[in-house]
Symmetry: C2
Subunit: 222 residues, 2 copies
DNA sequence: GTCTATACGCAGATAGAC
DNA sequence: GTCTATCTGCGTATAGAC
């Protein structure tokens, strides 16, 4: 076959199909041959639209990052803590909907378009709330650390189903909370506890405008 | 050649050489053929000591986790905050010494021997300090989220060197702190700020034995 | 039980015809 | 822009020497 009148492929269609394959059968199942079969074309045709496999996976990750809700950063932001809390939950939820893609976060977190869009929105919100630019940058980074680390720790495979394997070997851990059935609640609880603790600890680094009651909405100190 | 008088290979030697290859040339450079060449044997010989490549990478990760300092959890622990702070820094430092292995953390975080040893030590410290078992489990998990997320976000490649690429495209971010040369300080600062904020936020969830001064060393509330 | 030699079936990627 | 044909290198299964 030669060149078709209308293109059979597009980058968007390839990325969308790749995401569907990853969601269905995992990252390992994503190959040029599988993808080509899924799209009804031959393998090398893909290279007219994506440069490498790594490029493609990056684009899939970026698509998912595009699903993170940023509407809470629409100015003016009433309370930076509330905005950050809602954003962090939305971020985690977007990753939870595509758990198979999470291991791909491990390569190059910084240079995808939607990564920058997210970083920009968080940074702007914090600066508007009165945080100095240096602190705003750090807070954006550390929140990302926590959310992505949470996704990685939660959606990767946890303890084996049979906790009795560890009986007696680790003095403190041979308990019910090792069981896989409890893992989801633990992950959820750990995320929420960490999120609230982070926000509390950051808020304590703000100056209070009028007495102790203003702590939660105070002006950043540095 | 047949069976040698003394074994040429051992699992430990294979794992150590694999770590050296990863440190030198990255995870992608680790292949059975490369590894066999380094060790002076033929490829399939490795399979007498490791079952799969995934098994081998897991063992390499476990070796690095074994370098995390746990001595601050030796009972009795004076202050759970101090212990957790020192442990988190040691954990991050161990990963920082082998940045190329960090992407491998993305697979199966929970079932390596040294993962369990670490989880057990943290859990024991927190329970000894008075935290209820459920909260201790959550805190151990969320601290791990933050430290591993920090390693992932820091040691993976950051923004491109030329910040002018983004000039005008992201309203808040076209600033000096986008430059790669500042990335290391940002990562370090974000880690420290997040760590202190987390510990402060958790400490605020304890009851104070004698007035407000006991906040840092208070007894956990739940 | 530990090694070597060989080989299979995948992978990502390229060259050149239409 | 898509095809066919083909390249290299991967993990690893198998068979056999000692």
């Amino acid at each position: 076959m030669g060149r078709p009148r209308r293109p059979l492929l597009s980058r968007d269609r390839i990325v969308a199909t790749a995401l569907a394959v990853v969601d269905a059968d995992g990252l390992d199942a994503l190959s040029t041959r599988r993808l080509a079969a899924e799209l009804g074309v031959s393998g090398p045709s893909l290279y007219n639209h994506v440069s490498t496999m790594e490029d493609l996976v990056d684009a899939v990750v970026d698509t998912i990052l595009g699903e993170v809700d940023l509407s809470m950063f629409a100015t003016p932001v009433a309370d930076w803590r509330t905005a950050l809390r809602e954003w962090a939950r939305s971020y985690r939820a977007a990753l939870a909907e595509h758990p198979n893609i999470v291991p791909a976060l491990a390569h190059g977190m910084g240079h995808r378009p939607n990564s920058l869009k997210i970083a920009d929105a968080v940074f702007g919100c914090l600066v508007d709330a009165g945080w100095p630019r240096g602190q705003a940058t750090r807070i954006g980074a550390l929140m990302r650390y926590f959310v992505t680390g949470s996704a990685l720790g939660s959606f990767a495979r946890g303890f084996p189903d049979d906790a009795s394997v560890y009986a007696g070997r680790y003095p403190h851990l041979s308990e019910a909370h090792l069981l896989a059935e409890h893992q989801r609640e633990i992950d959820e609880g750990a995320f929420e506890l960490g999120l609230e603790s982070l926000l509390d600890g950051l808020a304590a680094r703000t100056v209070t405008a009028r007495g102790a009651s203003g702590r939660a909405g105070g002006t950043p100190r540095w």
